[in-house]
Amino acid sequence: MEFLYNLLIDPFVQMVELPDFFLQVLWEGFVSGVLYALIALGFVLIFKASGVFNFAQGIMVVFAALSLVGLYALGMPAYIALIATIAIMGILAVAVQKTIFHHLVNQPDIILLMATIGLTYFLIGFGEFVFGGDPKVMITEELGLPTGSTAFDVLGGLVILQHIDIAAAVIAIIMVTALAIFFNKTRIGRALRAVADDHQAALSVGISLDQIWIIVWFAAGIVALATGIMWGARSDVSFALEIIAFKALPVLILGGFTSIPGAIVGGLIIGIGEKIGEIYWGPLVGGGIESWLAYVIALIFLLFRPQGLFGEKIIERV
């Protein structure tokens, strides 16, 4: 009886009794959600345009962040290092296309997935060789990102907002809006969608697959860099960051692999859901549910909407 009370009633009582704390939890969840959404966005970009599930997206986040920190450590001013890192992501995009995917056009999806797994392990090895394996500190202040925090008086209590979190949310919103406009309104965006729908037909109207795939890998690289900076600012920059990529999986299941709005909404649901779950229901089972709750949410979702919230409906003619 007591267990049921703790499970079904007590959490909501707490939420109502301490609304300021609840708001704080919501905010923290929102910020994680924004970052999950950013990672998921990297996946969606590449999946949409090439049908490749890019296993390497997580390591690209690490690689971008390490490059930025590493270049700064070499004595480059922070902004120059940022531009140089963007250039490195561009070079990576070209190299990946020219050496791997150019040769794999029209191969089955599983082959492309294997190629990205290979790429992941190459980038881990290469990254460790160049930057070393020890954790580094993100150059948050040097990049002009705010580091303080502000406390707000709301609902009879204090809600503390880290400025870096606000910055992360703003940057994520700007990036997502820019990408959405780019995808829907421009010739290159149309070409991207065309390639996503049908490779052969896209080639026949004069779209160069190489060019389009380089653009999406570059875009995914920039998204990875943004994620790396924001995530790195909250913890360290290390190879352990790679696993946050797997946080994007439930987000993708929820939002659909081909939808940019899906990545955002999915990210927010997962971010907020797992934070609330951890704080209010976690103690019931001794805590630590944050690491798997997302997958449970995603699995339940799969039962009802296998194509995700915003994914294209799967219709198969028999």
């Binding site: 780019f182 421009t186 149309r190 969608r193 729908d197 052969q200 896209a202 080639l203 026949s204 004069g206």
Partner: protein, 265 residues
């Protein structure tokens, strides 16, 4: 049989295929085939299933590269050309099993055909302002002309995945026309259509040829469809050319009759 050159009149050669051989592993899809396509004509490539018709189209369009033989377009020889290079030189095509961008509207599909006509670079595209926006409007005007031409005004904003098959084929033709091609390759444009749709499509093909002056190479499985439509017909069977000439000649050719009736060799 007289040489076809004497009968089809003037019209210089737009595309020439010389002694092409194409194999996939041990399978030889095309064996030593030569054919030419003259400016302004409707050239049909026919043959029974598996004759190598689509392979021939894929060779012309750059999807396949023949192991032997030469292809020249507008007098210039080409080597290992990629499909998008063929497109940029003025070769457009449709596909046997409609290859449209299913998630996009009719309008966007046709606009995708304008890709090569739009030149503003990446950064203008990114800001979507000034010259890039103006270019979009100009190309949109051209696309509207094509939409009028093919009478598909009503489905302008419909996602193509929802359209009936006959209309999808027409949208695919529209997308190819949006490229303003010199040479239009049609892979079984009438396959799977009912009689009315076939008649419509035949009329559009003739209109494209006569009003826009586009040279057309068309593949058909059904011999009767091409007889009224085409200026000259080449017949393939088992990867080899067995006849080439005016429709009436080809129809009377003994080899062709045997190939279609399946007389044992």
């Amino acid at each position: 049989m007289r040489a076809p050159e004497q009968e089809a009149g003037a019209g210089e050669t737009l595309l020439a295929v010389d002694n092409i051989t194409l194999s996939f592993g041990g399978v030889r899809a095309i064996r030593n085939v030569s054919l030419d396509i003259r400016k302004g004509e409707i050239r049909a490539i026919i043959g029974p299933n598996g004759a190598g018709k689509t392979s021939m189209l894929n060779v012309i369009n750059g999807f396949y590269h023949p192991q032997e033989g030469l292809i020249s377009f507008r007098g210039a020889e080409r080597r290992r050309m990629k499909p998008y290079e063929a497109a940029s030189q003025g070769i457009a095509r449709t596909f046997q099993n409609v290859a449209l961008f299913r998630g996009m509207t009719t309008l966007d599909n046709i606009m995708a055909g304008r890709t090569l006509k739009m030149h503003r670079n990446f950064f203008w595209q990114l800001v979507h302002w000034g010259p890039a926006a103006r270019e979009e409007v100009e190309n949109r005007r051209k696309v509207e002309e094509i939409i009028d031409f093919l009478e598909i005004q009503a489905i302008r904003k419909t996602p193509v995945g929802r359209l009936p098959y006959g209309l999808q084929k027409r949208v695919e033709l529209a997308r190819a026309l949006a490229m303003e091609p010199d040479l239009l390759l049609l892979d079984e444009p009438m396959a799977g259509m009912n009689l009315e749709e076939k008649e419509d499509m035949s009329r559009f093909i003739l209109d494209v040829n006569q009003q826009l002056g586009t040279t057309i190479a068309l593949i058909e499985h059904d011999i009767s469809v091409v007889m009224d439509l085409s200026d000259r017909v080449v017949v393939l069977d088992h990867g080899e050319k067995i006849a080439d000439g005016l429709p009436a000649e080809v129809q009377a050719n003994q080899n062709v009759i045997e190939a279609y009736l399946g007389v044992s060799h």
